[in-house]
């Protein structure tokens, strides 16, 4: 019954591709394309280079390399207009090319996602605004998967929490307006956290402004203004700040661990060829038997990690503990499939087998890649240091007295493990326990600065600004169950751990019955909060102390108690504002729509993680989605994919005292 066919993901992907190609088409002839680093990846998600070539793109340059040359008359810049620094770089490069003078260049700039006043001002100051064609490419959401829409703003985390720059909130609001314009208003907006509140306010304001712009007091309102959507249930906004803790833990799902060890960017991982073998060469070349190239150390191979790889979709959200088993099973199945050629008697059977061969080969390849990858990760997870780190994390998460872990942390510092790892542990402790004792903090500060350099004084001040690493304000504050110093200024993990059953010891990794499986026994608070909205009976039964097994199958959720109802008091202990807003429309129209659509249709819930989401949380949300399957669909939206390391990267000072000559 949806008025527009196709999922959001397909729709946004298509739209982005179309928009970009139309713009490129508008620039006549061959052109060189200059893309900023932070856009190159996302653009690759919706358009292939070969397609760009068809539209006249000759070569692609990275803005940061500043090496665009005069080989083509037309130069097209594709850059974020929100970042003043990038805008300046564009201006500089245009001026440089103009000075070269051999070629009369024709410049076009496509600002993503919108043309800003500041960018105009900068180009005007540079005196080139009259010489360039300016257009905007309104790409907000970039679909990573069918159920994951990301703004792919890499800096959103540091912008939001370190620099307190709410730019990405505004962009998020714009993006969500895009969804609303497609489906109608979210009937309800539920959220947690101060920035989430800001986002919701922006959404309300934008709706009002849209109403003001569109309708004109004529009789037929429904023809123009938007109505509450019939196929959307609600929007849930979770501010990352509400739950820094979960993101700081080492992720234990397969995809999460890949992200932790090799890193995943825009659905791709750069893996050493020594681990996964070189890129498969097309058959023709292989048969020529060229001298076997030994895979050189340091060569990287890009591995596509998305739903197009069937095996990977099976593995990605599983706890790493069982990945080995799955791989084994698949290997055995493949082998037996392969063996079936011997049993094939008739020619038809044989033909069937041959037809399936390419699929087998594809599967085989992916199996090899993932087995190698899993082994590499295993090597890492078996190491002494990894186990120590995990132990500290698990103890912190479980709420054990953190001071017992300090020796381990100190040892890790002395053993020179990467700074990120150490800082993650300290920040985790600070988040979970409401700060470190001032004496301990001072001690660690000194040790880390000695071990990693004095420039990290800046790192610490950044972490403090982000409220990731803080001295405990008063010794007893967090030990009292319900009251923090001011309720809502910090997330009280101690209280929530108990009352929302964040620690579930007996969770099975193989056959998970609670989201806690993703961290092998710890349920990420952020997702538990989502459950408080979507799966009330289940969470209630958990709290009442029933074992997980008893309450394993969540009874059909009643939508009778919407929003935070029933959990208001609990949720107060998490940081930031709590809200649940009903977007009202014309009652009559809603009812009409409802009768039209019927009540049993699948309703979509949008879950927006402001400030970033981890792969583990995505896995947990998918777990919920599966349980809610026929009644609800969950679409995960976020500003970017993050993990603990990226959070630390935002704070860590990159320069050091080495003489730079």
């Amino acid at each position: 019954m949806a008025p527009y066919p196709g999922s959001d993901a397909d729709y946004f992907k298509d739209k982005a591709r179309r928009d970009l190609l139309t713009l490129l088409e508008g620039v006549r002839g061959k052109k060189n394309l200059v893309v900023s680093q932070d856009l190159a990846g996302p653009v690759g998600l919706f358009v292939k280079f070969s397609l760009l070539q068809e539209y006249g793109v000759d070569r692609v340059f990275l803005l940061e390399n500043a090496n665009v040359d005069s080989s083509q008359r037309n130069v097209v810049f594709l850059v974020h207009a929100e970042k003043t620094r990038q805008v300046r770089t564009v201006a500089d490069q245009i001026k440089r090319l103009q000075r070269n003078g051999n070629v009369e260049h024709e410049f076009s700039i496509f600002w993503v996602p919108r043309r800003t006043l500041v960018s105009n001002a900068i180009l005007e100051d540079a005196g080139i605004i009259g010489d360039v064609n300016i257009a905007e490419l309104p790409v907000y959401f970039i679909p990573l998967e069918q159920d994951v829409l990301s703004l792919e703003l890499e800096d959103s985390f540091s912008d939001l929490y370190l620099h307190k720059d709410p730019g990405c909130v505004y962009l998020a609001a714009k993006a969500l307006m895009g969804i609303q314009q497609r489906h109608g208003y979210f009937p309800r907006i539920i959220g947690k956290g101060d920035n989430a509140r800001r986002l919701a306010d922006l959404l309300l304001r934008m709706r009002k402004e849209l109403d003001a712009e569109e309708s004109s007091g004529l009789t037929d309102l429904s023809a123009r203004g938007l109505l509450p959507s019939a196929d959307t249930e609600s929007l849930i906004i979770i501010d990352r700040e509400v739950d820094f803790g979960s993101a700081l833990l080492t992720q234990l799902t397969y995809e999460g661990l890949i992200d932790e060890t090799v890193g995943i960017k825009h659905n791709q991982a750069d893996v050493d060829t020594a681990i996964v073998g070189p890129t498969p060469v097309p058959q023709a070349q292989e048969s020529s038997k060229a001298p076997q190239q030994t895979s050189k150390q340091g060569q990287k191979r890009k591995i596509q990690l998305d739903a197009s790889d069937q095996l990977f979709s099976q593995l990605r959200d599983a706890n790493f503990a069982i990945v080995g088993d799955i791989l084994n099973k698949v290997a055995r199945r493949l082998e037996s499939d392969y063996e079936s050629r011997h049993t094939a008697k008739t020619t038809t059977e044989l033909r069937e087998f041959v037809n399936k061969l390419p699929t087998y080969q594809l599967e085989h390849q992916s199996l090899r890649v993932h087995t190698n990858l899993a082994e590499e990760i295993m090597r890492n997870t078996r190491s002494d240091i990894f186990r120590k780190i995990l132990e500290v994390q698990q103890n912190n998460a479980a709420g054990a007295d953190p001071t017992y872990q300090h020796d381990s942390v100190e040892e890790l510092i002395a053993r020179d493990v990467p700074l990120k790892t150490v800082l993650r542990l300290l920040c985790l402790e600070s988040c979970m326990a409401g700060g470190l004792r001032p004496r301990d903090l001072e001690n660690f500060k000194r040790q880390i600065i000695h071990a990693y350099g004095h420039q990290h004084l800046l790192t610490f001040s950044a972490l403090e600004k982000m409220e990731l690493l803080q001295p405990r304000s008063s010794a007893t504050a967090m030990l009292l169950p319900t009251t923090g110093t001011q309720p809502g200024s910090k997330t009280n993990y101690g209280y929530l751990r108990k009352n929302l059953r964040l620690v579930v010891e007996e969770v099975s990794e193989k056959d998970p019955n609670d989201i806690a499986y993703v961290y092998s026994g710890f349920a990420p608070l952020s997702v538990r909060l989502v459950q408080c909205v979507l799966q009330k009976p289940y969470v209630l039964s958990l709290i009442r102390g029933g074992s997980v097994a008893a309450s394993a199958s969540p009874s059909p959720a009643s939508t009778a108690s919407p929003g935070w109802l029933g959990f208001e008091d609990l949720v107060k202990s998490a940081r930031g504002a709590t809200f649940s807003i009903v977007q009202k429309g014309d009652d009559k129209a809603i009812r009409a729509r409802q009768t039209l659509s019927g009540n049993n249709a699948t309703k979509t819930v949008y879950v927006f993680f402001l400030g970033g989401i981890t792969f583990t949380e995505i896995a947990a949300l998918r777990f919920i989605a599966e349980q809610e399957a026929p009644r609800r669909k969950i679409v995960i939206c976020t500003t970017s994919i993050i993990n603990g390391d990226k959070m630390m990267d935002a704070a860590i000072e990159k320069q050091d005292f080495t003489k730079t000559e």
């Binding site: 006043l117 005292f657 080495t658 003489k659």
Partner: protein, 829 residues
């Protein structure tokens, strides 16, 4: 009044018919000598701009009337506005499809008049237009091309952000005529120009000028058909050629048998060419057939996409191809079902039973007949025939059981609108097809431009189109012309617009501000619901503080940044800081931008805000980016000095660590000097320094550093262990192993040394790990390859099972040893 003959003015041209519909008569006043004027008509039946042709001789007049001006008339001859012109020679006069008048002067200045009442923006063509001068201009719906006297072509394809662009360089020679193909119809998606030079024609686009290699020039006229598919040329011999726009094929040739070159060549739709002399018009159809019209006075041709408007002193006529539906009905002797249906109306009125007979006869094709009648009604200009056709449709409809009347109803709506705007008082002789293409919204815009507010609102209500723009335009006009005081105007406007959502008060306020009524503008702005919209105007009005607040309210960081940028360059620093101080979002954004490019501002900000740590951090990061050591230390010194006075514990620590940093740098500098080693110490962390010292064998110095910087023993031991292992200094490690106690225990020693591959030395540390459980120790021994030792360990713990296990892993003489131990342990029964 007797109905006009529907066949009046039909003219057969090959297979199809053309007709000339008179729309208005008695157009121009007697004193307008049309032959002396350049006439440019806006598309879609829009306004006409008349300008006295300078090349024509003047009759002597008094100074007042001789003053140069541009008259804007409606097609019915009503003077809408007169623009005084004293800006030089006009080289181009044309319209955009938004009915904006464009006037291009010889020196390359372009004036764009919007709204017909003299508001304009202007820009310059540049690209040498000033030196060489503009010769002529050609227009299309959203842009124009100017031909300079040096044969350069300058194209402007967007009036909102005009960006004059040079097209490819053209060949020398006399341009005898030229024309353009609008971007929508070219392959290159950019405007292309046909330039008749000497004997041939060049096709010029932004990148190249292509010679089409023709022989029959010089061509005196070139004209491109509305869809850009055909070109009409007048050859040197005065013949009319119609060729495809790629010059590959010639479709027809026509000889007008006239020695005088026609004044204009235009297209009438896509199938016929209209050539006009002073008082004669030829309409040339496919295959060179032609119809001729003669006039008493001069005739001006205004091309439309579906026909031409012919303007003479007394009449305004519309010459166009008769549509298929109209032809099917009215053609002499037509027996089409629709024609029969129309006839039955007459019979019906005469109460003749034949009406029904007719209907029955065409029964099978009745729905189609009804459709055709409805559509033909649209193309009719005469209300009598419109009614007649609709009546026929209605009659046919009533006979049908099932018929979707939407088209019929819509047509009646459209016809009502068309009738209203075609009235001579309004003077928009728009055809049905033009109306469809222009869209109702744009039509209303045109009415608004003519200040026909009432009609505009009536139409928009009738068609259910947002009327907010009309109100805003009205209000802006009110603001401009009213002379009463601000309060009264504001009250009046707010009252009138009350309850009408979507009103952009910002635009009205802008109009007020442009009129110099700042107070009124502020008052009006208060009614604007969209915060963001108010900001630019507020900035212009120097209402800085309100602008900043509104920008923050809108949540748009770009807007806030923009306001801040403007304010920073405008205000003294102190008041700038004061302004952002109380607004956290603003100060955060200032900090972010300043961090990138203006650290001095940042320092000032922190100083004013009394944030010593932040201030010293700026200096610290400056220290990091210095290249020379002395300047690094100096910055560090400055950074630490900022913190000296404070008593706060964190500040004190910060200060201590900062001075420690410079101390470390000093030490490292000395090390670099003293130790003639390739290792560079400067810039390393303390731990790395010590590690490297030990690894290079400077244990003493390392120890000195440890005490100097009060490094905990544990850390130091770890560093020493790792450094010595890296150095493979087994002797030293063994020496350390002779100590009684280690602050980090002995297990790390075992692990690290084993990891480095020295099992022998590793085994040395196993017995020292006294506090480990037996199983671990057994495992440790085994890892060193010492099964026997492991066995002894197990033996001491009387662990029988482990021994059994060990035996399976043992080989050589070790087997015997393990066996012996097993035997000893075996319970003596």
């Amino acid at each position: 009044m007797a109905p006009s003959n529907p066949l009046a003015n039909w003219e057969r041209l090959g297979d199809s018919f053309y007709r000339k519909v008179p729309i208005y008569d008695a157009i121009f006043d007697e004193d307008v000598e049309l032959e002396n004027y350049i006439v440019a008509g806006a598309p879609y039946g829009g306004a006409l701009a008349l300008h006295r042709d300078d090349t024509k001789p003047y009759r002597f007049r008094d100074a007042q009337t001789a003053k140069s001006s541009i008259g804007i008339y409606s097609s019915s001859g009503k003077l809408i506005n007169r623009l005084n012109w004293e800006h030089g020679t006009i080289r181009g006069l044309g319209w955009s499809d938004k009915e904006e008048l464009l006037v291009i002067t010889e020196d390359g200045t372009v004036r764009r008049y919007f709204g017909l009442y003299g508001d304009f923006t202007s820009f310059s063509l540049g690209n040498g237009a000033e030196e060489y001068g503009v010769r002529a201009c050609r227009f299309w719906t959203s842009g124009f091309v100017a031909l300079l006297s040096n044969n350069q072509l300058v194209a402007v394809s967007n009036y909102d952000e005009p960006r004059p662009k040079l097209l490819a360089h053209c060949p020398e020679g006399e341009v005898s005529s030229w024309s353009l193909i609008p971007p929508a119809f070219t392959l290159s998606r950019s405007v292309e120009v046909l330039l008749a030079v000497d004997k041939t024609v060049y096709l010029v686009d932004p990148t190249e000028a292509e010679d089409k290699v023709l022989q029959n020039g010089p061509f005196k006229h070139a004209s491109v058909s509305p869809t850009g598919r055909f070109v009409a040329l007048i050859t040197a011999e005065g013949k009319v050629w119609v060729v495809s726009s790629d010059f590959q094929s010639k479709y027809s040739e026509y000889d007008p048998e006239s020695r005088v070159t026609p004044r204009t060549v235009d297209w009438c739709g896509d199938d016929a060419v209209v050539i006009a002399w002073e008082d004669e018009v030829h309409l040339i159809g496919p295959n060179g057939v032609a119809a001729r019209y003669y006039y008493d006075g001069i005739v001006h041709v205004v091309p439309e996409f579906d026909g031409v408007r012919l303007i003479t002193h007394d009449t305004c006529e519309f010459l166009h191809k008769v549509t298929d539906v109209t032809e099917a009905i009215f053609r002499l002797g037509s027996t089409s079902p629709a024609s029969v249906l129309l006839d039955s109306i007459d019979l019906l009125e005469k109460k003749s039973p034949k009406a029904d007979e007719n209907i029955q006869r065409i029964r099978s094709s009745l729905p189609e007949a009804v459709d055709i009648c409805v559509r033909a009604a649209g193309h009719e200009f005469d209300a009598y025939w419109q009614k007649r056709l609709l009546k026929a449709a209605s009659f046919g409809k009533s006979v049908l059981d099932l018929y979707n009347s939407d088209d019929f109803v819509e047509m009646t709506e459209k016809l009502r609108v068309l009738k209203a705007v075609r009235d001579y008082q309004i003077g928009l002789p728009i055809s049905y097809d033009q109306y469809m293409r222009l869209t109702p919204e744009k039509l209303i815009e045109r009415l608004v431009n003519r200040h026909e507010y009432l009609l505009a609102i009536k139409i928009s209500e009738y068609l259910q189109i947002p009327a907010d723009r009309i109100y805003v335009h009205w209000a802006s006009q009110k603001v401009k012309v009213s002379t009463v005081d601000d309060e009264a105007v504001c009250k009046l406007i707010v009252q009138r617009l009350d309850g009408k959502p979507g009103i952009s008060f910002e635009l009205i306020a802008q109009a007020a501000y442009d009129e110099g009524r700042a107070h009124l503008a502020t008052q009006l702005l208060n009614h604007e619901p969209r915060a963001g919209k108010q900001v630019p105007l507020l900035l212009n009005m120097e209402e800085d503080e309100i602008a900043l607040d509104k920008a923050i309210e809108s949540g748009d960081n770009d807007l806030v940044n923009y306001v801040l940028l403007r304010l920073k360059s405008k205000l003294p620093l102190a008041s700038f800081f004061r302004m952002i101080n109380t607004r956290p979002m603003a100060s955060a954004l200032v900090e972010t931008t300043a961090r990138g490019d203006d650290t001095e501002l940042l320092k000032d900000l922190y100083y004013q805000d009394d944030r010593p740590i932040d201030g010293s951090n700026v200096l610290l990061s400056e220290a990091l980016s210095q290249t020379e050591l002395p300047s690094k230390t100096e910055k560090l010194h400055l950074a630490s000095r900022l913190l000296v006075d404070s008593k706060d514990a964190t500040v004190v620590l910060q200060q201590k660590l900062l001075s420690e940093a410079s101390q470390l740098l000093k030490v490292q500098e000395a090390l670099d000097k003293d130790i003639a080693d390739r290792s560079e110490f400067v810039g390393l962390s303390l731990n790395e320094t010590i590690y490297r010292l030990i690894r290079s064998g400077y244990g003493k110095r390392a120890q000195k550093l440890q005490s100097e910087f009060k490094m905990p023993d544990k850390t130091y031991w770890w560093l020493r262990l790792r450094a010595l292992v890296a150095k493979r200094d087994w002797g030293e490690l063994e020496e350390i192993g002779r100590n009684k106690k280690s602050p980090i225990g002995w297990e790390p020693f075992y692990n690290e040394i084993l990891g480095a591959g020295n099992t022998k030395l590793a085994s040395f540390f196993v017995p020292k790990c006294t506090n480990l459980p037996v199983e671990d120790k057994v495992e440790m021994w085994v890892k060193c390859g010492m099964i026997v030792k492991a066995g002894e360990e197990a033996f001491r713990a009387k662990d029988f099972n482990t021994l059994e296990l060990l035996r399976t892993r043992a080989s050589g003489p070790a087997v015997a040893d393990i066996d012996r131990m097993i035997n000893q342990l075996r319970p003596r029964k």
